[in-house]
Symmetry: C2
Subunit: 145 residues, 2 copies
């Protein structure tokens, strides 16, 4: 598998080990990871640090030119908030681990010209299935349900 | 003026005094403010803490039922990221200080059924005009330009 999706999955696994929602993400520019993150709802009582948002935050302040050549990898289809962050910064490409557990704002991203690749990764699906079986309430909270 | 927009403007003014992008926001539920925030790009070197995101984060983890009865006040039209957060949590109503300095994802929010009220507030516009005159580079970075 793609080394960058592997890195996103590693983040998701760290999240699961911490008791968190196992969604990980990495931001890649120029062939290297410039930001790594994972969902921080449980770990940091955060309402906004989804995996993608945490990766963007950990990448620090970047000029527009960097975002516009970057690819965001995420283990799960991005929700409207994370999709909106992609649109704000003009990130042109997303690689998504899976979208069976949750279908994010993929249609909206495609309409706005973002290139999406969905891997339908079994490890990504399994991480979510394990977490949701144990903590359906936390998962629902994470997606505003 | 609405006391909640006044509170959002106070946040924006605090931001300006700190050298930050003067955009403030408050999340209101049941007639009281449950989260206050302001843009933290300069203060905390943040790529994701726009005023609205900071207010949502400072409100802490909330059940879906709270967001669905909440109103988000923001001094400036919400960018795609902040608009996406509103959609994620199903916040039904937004009060916007002004949208002349920057037009956010208002059309998308309306299409998704969010009620928007735009006040065209002169204090909100003036805060942004002062900041952008001094720091056009920071402002452009904040909106991914």
């Amino acid at each position: 598998m793609d080394i960058f999706m592997q890195a996103a999955i590693e983040e998701a696994r760290k999240g699961l080990a911490e008791g968190g929602v196992p969604i990980g993400s990495v931001l890649v520019h120029g062939g290297r990871i410039i930001g790594r993150g994972r969902n921080q709802r449980q770990q940091r009582a955060s309402a906004i640090l989804h995996g993608e948002m945490d990766a963007l935050e950990n990448a620090g302040r970047q000029p527009a030119s960097v975002y516009r050549e970057a690819t965001l990898y995420t283990t799960l289809s991005p929700c409207p908030m994370c999709s909106g962050a992609v649109l704000l910064y003009g990130i042109p490409r997303l690689v998504i681990g899976e979208n069976r557990t949750f279908m994010g704002a993929e249609a909206h991203l495609r309409e706005q010209g973002v290139a999406l690749e969905v891997l339908d990764s079994e490890p990504c699906r399994e991480l979510m299935a394990r977490f949701i079986a144990r903590h359906p309430d936390v998962w629902n909270e994470d997606i505003g349900v």
